[in-house]
């Protein structure tokens, strides 16, 4: 974020605090509001993807946009993910701000060539001359008992691709503000939406546009005994574990990363330096998952403060199971609590 952007976001926040009305929205509604607001604010913002127009998206995230902005700004595309992302690259290179939807993260793979080989590199390859202010948003993760390929979370692939920013909100408020930041960002941002909590709860969301900065984690609960680090839908698991631990007199701090790339090392290290113990939670497979990066960061920067090895609670190293076994795969409160106790009893 540039200093100007920071200042603007600061200003919007203070405005909101004074006068903005708020509604209780789900994450789907909050994202929808952000899209609408950014399209109103900037006519170069375009929305494209499979079923995003007439149908309003299979999760209704883009509902009403076609009627509000017309079929040149809200494009139902052919069924082709590589096409959607590659086309967006062209649009972005030539002055638009495309917000592309991939219907599910499990269907992103045909587009990885475009995303990795071009979107992530254009600024660098053109030595800064051409940049791509584009967003690729998609629902990710498990928990809705769908057919195969609708539950994947391969964020580690994206984080391991220099040139992309990777953002994962866990609340309606953050979703709206982070998506606004992503759309205004000058570089490609992959915006991962935890579909399991698309409609799981509502939260006060200001009607006015506002931004939440990319690259900034949030301490959701302060505590002293250990730090639980999570993102996306796993923040709910972390908070439940926090409450369960509290009943046993254990004070857990919960950090919601919100951005995976660039990750907010400062907040993580500050917290772990204080608590000396950490548990990282994600639903993606354990091996090579983003948790490994967090563990490495902590080892590099806070080793001397550690009182126990950092624990990982993650999905297993298997294909995401079909619906009947899904709940056995996904990390839950019990697994987070057990990991916390291992760290505490080390």
């Amino acid at each position: 974020m540039t200093r100007q952007q920071a200042a603007a976001s600061q200003q919007e926040r203070s405005l909101r605090a004074v006068e903005s009305p708020a509604e209780r929205l789900t994450m789907v509604q909050a994202i929808n509001q952000a899209l609408k607001a950014e399209m109103e604010r900037d006519e170069t913002v375009l929305v494209l993807g499979e079923d995003v127009g007439r149908d309003g998206g299979v999760f209704r995230v883009t509902e009403g946009l076609l009627d509000a902005f017309g079929s040149e700004r809200v494009m139902d595309t052919p069924l082709a993910e590589s096409g959607i992302v590659g086309f967006s690259i062209g649009l972005a290179a030539a002055g638009f701000r495309p917000v592309a939807e991939i219907q599910f993260m499990g269907f992103l793979y045909p587009a990885l060539n475009q995303l990795f080989a071009h979107a992530a590199r254009m600024r660098n390859r053109s030595r800064g001359r051409t940049h791509l202010p584009m967003v690729v948003r998609m629902p990710y993760g498990g928990g809705i008992h769908p057919p195969e390929h609708h539950s994947e979370s391969y964020e580690a692939l994206l984080v391991n691709t220099p040139g992309l920013k990777v953002v994962v909100p866990s609340t309606p408020y953050d979703a709206k503000g982070l998506l606004a930041s992503a759309i205004r960002d000058e570089d490609p941002v992959v915006f991962l939406e935890p579909k399991r909590i698309y409609r799981a709860f509502r939260e006060e969301v200001p009607s006015e546009p506002y931004t939440v900065p990319i690259g900034k984690a949030k301490v959701v609960k302060t505590g002293t005994d250990l730090t639980i680090i999570a993102y996306g839908s796993m923040v709910r698991q972390a908070l439940e574990a926090h409450d369960a631990l509290a009943r046993d007199g254990i004070s857990a701090e919960v950090v919601d990363l919100r951005t995976l790339s660039p990750v907010d090392a400062g907040t993580i290290i500050e917290s772990v330096t204080k608590t000396g113990r950490a548990v990282v939670v994600h639903e993606a497979p354990r091996t090579g998952g983003f948790g490994a990066e967090i563990v490495a960061l902590i080892n590099e920067r806070a080793l001397v403060h550690l009182k126990a090895p950092v624990e990982r609670v993650a999905g297993y190293d298997v294909v995401f199971p079909h619906a009947l076994l899904e709940n056995h795969y996904l990390p839950n409160r019990e697994r987070v609590v057990a990991a916390a106790k291992r760290a505490l009893e080390f």
């Binding site: 079923d51 149908d55 082709a80 993910e81 045909p110 008992h145 297993y316 190293d317 079909h322 076994l325």
Partner: protein, 357 residues
């Protein structure tokens, strides 16, 4: 140095049986009365399979389900054209032909219930698990068709996909590979005119999918996909050609998705009700029944008997489904690799401790 035409293409459309059950006798494929009745029986079985699946989903006894209603002729026509040794490479709307190839319906239901064991097909059935990533399976059909060619097998691979799939790169790569290597493959595209909410017009500016065959140097034909005789005729021609080394074919069957995309979809949001009425009059089963009746091969009594037989067969399959014990959570580790690596062993043991098995 003239400017001259280097390629001119003609694409055919085949119709044999019209909506009122009348046939063009000159085009009628060479089928015995028994085979004609088999085609009809197959379609009735598929419709029962489908209706039951929708019921089970509504009652919460299975999960999200993709209906094949309206597409029975596409699948029956191809099923009759195929030989037992042939390979089926399906996407997610082909459970009709999957059952016709020997996969019991309870496995189909198990798959849609979210049970991986639904993909464990009986020995001897050459069928890959249904592919949900749209279009990706067509390359497998090209590869299987190549393997069959290398082995000099008198068998073909039949890859299925929808109209939406024709927009994916994999579709084009599959046709290209099949053309270059002259694989023993038939591609059957069920153009049901909708890819969820996106109409066929949004998948291509061309008039048809069939004509895309020309660009890859392979044969292509469009058929009335609600006309089981036309589908059979085109499928048989294509399968015979591939089997005898004559190269791959793209068959486009023009049909209609009579139901929502899946049970998670609500088609009223995006498609006009008149369309449904238009296509209801062109139902593949009704027109075949009229034809069989006109040939004195069919009557109400036989209809009732077949309906009862098909319903009983499906009920027996539902019982088999519900008699399946719940899958054990440790199963998710068991079939990842030929040999289970240490990390999976550890994780499986952890899971086993957790669930007490």
């Amino acid at each position: 140095m003239p400017r001259k035409i280097i390629h001119q293409a003609v694409t055919e459309r085949l119709e044999i049986l019209d909506k009122d059950g009348r046939v063009d006798k000159t085009l009628l494929p060479d089928l015995s009365d028994d085979q004609l009745l088999t085609l009809y029986r197959m379609m009735i079985q598929m419709r029962k399979l489908d209706e039951k699946a929708l019921n089970l989903q509504r009652q919460g006894r299975t999960g999200t389900y993709a209906s094949l209603r309206g597409q029975e002729a596409c699948q029956a026509g191809m099923a009759l054209a195929m030989e037992p040794q042939d390979w089926l490479v399906p996407s997610f709307r082909e459970h009709g032909i999957m059952t016709l190839r020997g996969i019991p319906a309870h496995l189909i239901y198990a798959f849609w219930k979210g049970d991986e064991r639904g993909d464990l097909f009986p020995e001897g059935v050459n069928c890959l698990p249904p592919s949900i990533p749209v279009g990706s399976q067509l390359l497998h059909a090209a590869g299987v068709g190549m393997a069959l060619k290398l082995r000099q097998a008198a068998a073909v691979a039949v890859g299925f996909a929808g109209d939406g799939a024709s927009s994916e790169g994999d579709f084009h790569e599959a046709l290209n590979f099949a053309g270059i290597f002259q694989t023993q493959t038939v591609f059957l595209i069920q153009n049901n005119q909708w890819a969820i909410s996106v109409p066929f017009k949004r998948q291509t500016a061309a008039d048809s999918i069939a004509q895309k065959a020309h660009a890859y140097g392979i044969q292509g034909i469009q058929v009335d996909g609600n006309d089981v005789l036309a589908v059979y005729a085109a499928a048989k021609e294509a399968v015979d050609r591939a089997r005898s080394g004559g190269g791959p074919t793209l068959v486009e069957a023009l049909t209609y998705r009579m139901e929502n995309h899946t049970t998670a979809d609500d088609a009223i949001r995006y498609r006009p009700a008149e369309e449904l009425l238009y296509w209801r009059e062109r139902d593949p089963i009704d027109r075949m029944r009229k034809f069989l009746v006109s040939r004195k091969l069919w009557n109400d009594k036989k209809e009732v008997a077949l309906a009862e037989e098909a319903a009983a067969a499906i009920e027996a399959e539902v019982e088999r489904l519900e008699a399946m014990p719940a899958p054990s959570p440790v199963e998710m580790f068991e079939t990842m690799y030929a040999q289970m690596p240490w990390n999976l062993q550890e994780q499986r043991d952890e899971m086993a401790r957790e669930v007490g098995r």
